[in-house]
Symmetry: C2
């Protein structure tokens, strides 16, 4: 769920309650359903050799994207990445895409084609096939729903619920870039950055990566416990891991991986870069846990893999909640204020 | 595609062209894809004993539903039926549902819960399980996307492309009731009908049936060729069959199955009931073809089944186009004017 969704408190407050109630309703076990509501994707036992993953995401104009700051091709690309990233977080291989769009009268056919072009382009490296969908009219804005399937070998899906107390928490890539890029697009007073940094942050916003290769690698090594993709922002997504695994977390602020461009942006805006990393969303990096005793072996494997993966904290008992360590020996509750909130000049 | 979608000429004109282009792009064959874009559902070969069906439908407030004339529970119910009906048209058994909603600030939590209640109620007779989805904010209206999966035995799916010249065309149930019900809800001058007829037409609009049992029965008998569900209205859906099978059709106006309530409504409005049957949408009945030489056997089977199935015409060569026989020996092109058009007083 991209950060824009939290702009409407009503919808988001009710989301957690709604999910809980829907799960309770669907409580009768079904032997074919490995995982229903509450993970990055649903997991279905389709055969003895394969489990099927399914995820769906609805994006609304003015909430999740804005044609004033993104091209239609980029909007399509990012929408597909949001779904690909869910498959990545399960350690799966993406397969088939279905696309529904509700088109307002203001959209041209060329724009809609660009939207599809962006979606198919994002899926092309993984040979994702568009196999169906629905087009209809919208009286208001553009709405785009993608359903994506994937596959994973039986018992190999990386679940949100598999985090254990003592596990270490890792993330791929760097955090906060996409949000810094979005801020550059929407700020009235755009901070002065080196062009290479501006280009990097805008590219990370418009063309994020789905960490499919990393997810598959994690499954292959067999050392990851829980996993989730970072769409809400680190703080929001940690909440999901804690909720599903029944645990707490302690994040070490100084260990958060931040790009030089994001650091430069934070400095220009007078912000702590860790704040952007903690609360900026749509990074589409993976967050996952690894048992502490496997750390030396895991670090060696990372070294050989060529992937960037950083240890940012550990899993704690549920009663500890979500905490942030700023200095050695000093922790505070992870700030749950929204990103918008702390960005405002005080 | 419910009839409301044709209210916006732009979106609908581009739909056919868009589908053609997307199909051309996805032209490289994939051994796992039995059917991609262009049927009621996509068909995926998931195992040697089972094919998976997937369909998705996006419904927009003010285009496909109106909270002023439908309760949230009925909106949810009809949305689920639209998808269940796609599975029925393939001869499949529905399995899993994923629901995305974009919620405007005007919607209460109770209303959203009613919406979900309607969806789960529609799926309950078939043990459909809600396994995932997405909730987010909308700045404008309510948008609802359902993705539904189903299963069918290998090589048993009923495809739109299987109609052959000479085949007979059958439909289940009666046609036009849902549209007459919608007209009753939206007319300023509501025609006077017997209460039993009004109740019937409103129920057929708010609570249509998905013909799952009929679809499964057709697969079991093994006599049906092509099949489609009637969501656009008979004329629009016949166009899909003709397009996918490369054929024409001749419909016999006098044979169209019309309920007493719909006849009474047509009379009260001064309309030909056949017009409502031809162009009213959202009946969610099945239309299918049967080889002419199998007719006697098929009619006997219908008699034993307890289902209402009516022969309404036959498949003709493509060059003949879509024609309507009004009197013996007299045919005319099937009127492609929209329902709204002919309803207007002339």
């Amino acid at each position: 769920m991209p950060p824009g969704r939290s702009r409407q408190a009503n919808a988001v407050h009710s989301e957690f309650a709604l999910i809980r109630r829907l799960r309770a309703q669907a409580a009768q076990p079904d032997p074919q359903v490995i995982k229903g509501i509450g993970d990055d994707t649903a997991v279905i036992k389709t055969s003895s050799t394969e489990w099927t993953l399914i995820t769906t995401d609805l994006l609304a104009e003015g909430v999740h994207f804005d044609p004033a700051t993104s091209s239609f091709r980029d909007i399509g690309y990012r929408a597909a990445i949001a779904n690909l990233s869910d498959i990545a977080a399960m350690g799966g291989t993406p397969r088939f895409m279905l696309v529904s769009i509700a088109i307002p009268p203001t959209c041209s056919q060329a724009q809609i084609e660009q939207l599809y072009r962006g979606m198919t382009q994002a899926g092309a490296p993984y040979h994702v096939r568009l196999i169906g969908g629905d087009t209809s009219a919208s009286k208001t804005g553009l709405f785009l729903n993608i359903t994506l399937t994937g596959v994973v070998k039986p018992r190999q899906a990386l679940l949100r619920s598999a985090a254990r107390v003592g596990d270490l928490i890792y993330v791929t890539g760097t955090l906060g870039d996409s949000r810094a890029g979005l801020d550059l697009l929407t700020s009235r007073r755009r901070p002065k950055l080196r062009p290479i940094h501006t280009r990097f942050l805008l590219a990370r916003h418009h063309r994020p990566s789905a960490r499919i290769a990393e997810g598959l690698w994690l499954v292959k090594q067999g050392l990851a416990g829980a996993a989730i993709d970072l769409s809400d922002g680190l703080t929001g997504d940690l909440r999901h891991i804690c909720e599903e695994s029944g645990v707490g977390v302690e994040i070490v602020a100084g260990s958060l991986p931040i790009s030089p461009a994001c650091r430069a942006y934070a400095m220009a805006r007078g912000l702590a870069p860790q704040q952007i990393a903690l609360q900026g969303g749509e990074d589409y990096e993976l967050l996952f846990t690894v048992s502490r005793r496997m750390q030396p072996r895991f670090e060696r494997l990372i070294g050989k893999s060529g992937f960037r993966m950083t240890c940012i904290g550990s899993i704690t008992p549920k009663a500890s909640g979500l905490r942030l360590r700023t200095d050695p020996g000093t922790t505070q509750p992870l700030p749950l204020t929204s990103y918008e909130h702390f960005l405002r000049p005080t």
